[in-house]
Symmetry: C2
Subunit: 216 residues, 2 copies
């Protein structure tokens, strides 16, 4: 690998993963590959073998589940500094993915070979903590998702969805069609349109074509 590329990874690590100890940083610099993936590309698919662990350091990824009819249900978003727990959990065991992942915006990753996982876990404490913490966060988000679906009505879920998205994107403006949102929440366009209208009437949001502004 070129020195230029190594230097790039070193910088990324120092900026986005500075909790890693020097040893694991050196390993990642040796083994990692920087990868740019354009908007709306599939990163992971059901039953596709997982061969590398993606560390996201710029951009955003959507993790979702799909049923037989192709309905997509949002599970959670991956943000900068995060990794995919499922790819971590599958390490070394030829497991296939149970979920789908697609980039939301142009995204940048460091890809790590999965066969190094077990070694690194036992050798580098900071990496070990990073992986376990990733698990825990994902686990909690999954529980959160279950709560929403099981206990809440669509209006609550919709509002949560919008405010969540607004926070992660760090913007009060959300660019999406009603159909997009309906798909993510596994609902139908008409329902979302009506609920959004009601939210607008209550002054919570402002609607325009392809865009929703969340009122402060």
């Amino acid at each position: 690998m070129s020195d230029h590329s190594k230097e790039e990874i070193r910088e990324i690590l120092d900026t986005h993963f500075n909790e890693f100890e020097p040893g694991i940083k050196e390993e990642i610099i040796e083994e990692g590959i920087v990868k740019y993936i354009g908007k709306n590309e599939m990163l992971m698919d059901v039953n596709q073998p997982i061969t590398s662990i993606p560390l996201l350091y710029e951009g955003g990824v959507k993790i979702f589940r799909e049923d037989e009819d192709g309905n997509e249900l949002l599970i959670y978003y991956l943000e900068s500094g995060e990794s995919c727990a499922l790819s971590l959990v599958c390490s070394g065991r030829d497991k296939t993915s149970q979920i789908k992942a697609r980039t939301l915006t142009d995204s940048k990753f460091i890809m790590l070979p999965i066969y190094k996982m077990d070694l690194w876990m036992t050798k580098y404490r900071t990496w070990y903590y990073y992986v376990l913490e990733t698990y825990q966060r994902r686990f909690e988000e999954l529980l959160q998702t279950i709560d929403s679906i099981a206990f809440k009505n669509m209006d609550e879920r919709l509002f949560e969805y919008l405010t969540n998205l607004s926070e992660t994107q760090n913007s009060r403006i959300i660019n999406a069609t009603h159909q997009n949102i309906a798909d993510e929440l596994n609902s139908s366009r008409e329902v979302i349109s009506r609920l959004l209208k009601k939210m607008e009437q209550r002054g919570l949001i402002q609607l325009s074509r392809n865009q929703i502004e969340i009122m402060p």
Copy 2:
């Protein structure tokens, strides 16, 4: 600890956790405590700090989630040879539980101190694999749960629930009231009663008071 107790743990490990290497077995024999917990006892509660990891070797545990109104939603069952992923994931970090756990029948555990987790993970390969595999299994079950709730109707969920329970209990007879089942699926008694009646009419099950027999 008494030699008798140590001998007991050794036997349990050889019978139920024989995939563990000798080193970790010795550690568990030193550090573990055998604990019997009666039927329907709370094992874990929301916001209760987790201080030990339970290895279940006999009996059954229900892991569930509760909303503000006290509705219980079944997440999954723990069976013999399994441990609770959430207690594993919380190791060493003073985390509190996000879920509730209650024994279904009289159950027997080896309780392990949580502060040993990190050391054991890096030192014993078989323990490391056991923990990661536990994670993965739980993760998949959570995804399974999400699928059911998000994509399936109550009749499908009910049938899945019954067959699942029948399998894990290794019996075609299920002892439960319709109200019990409704609670687990976060539904209402009347709905479950009606759906069960329909299933009986289709010859899938046989109903009697406090009991459902699944037809082969």
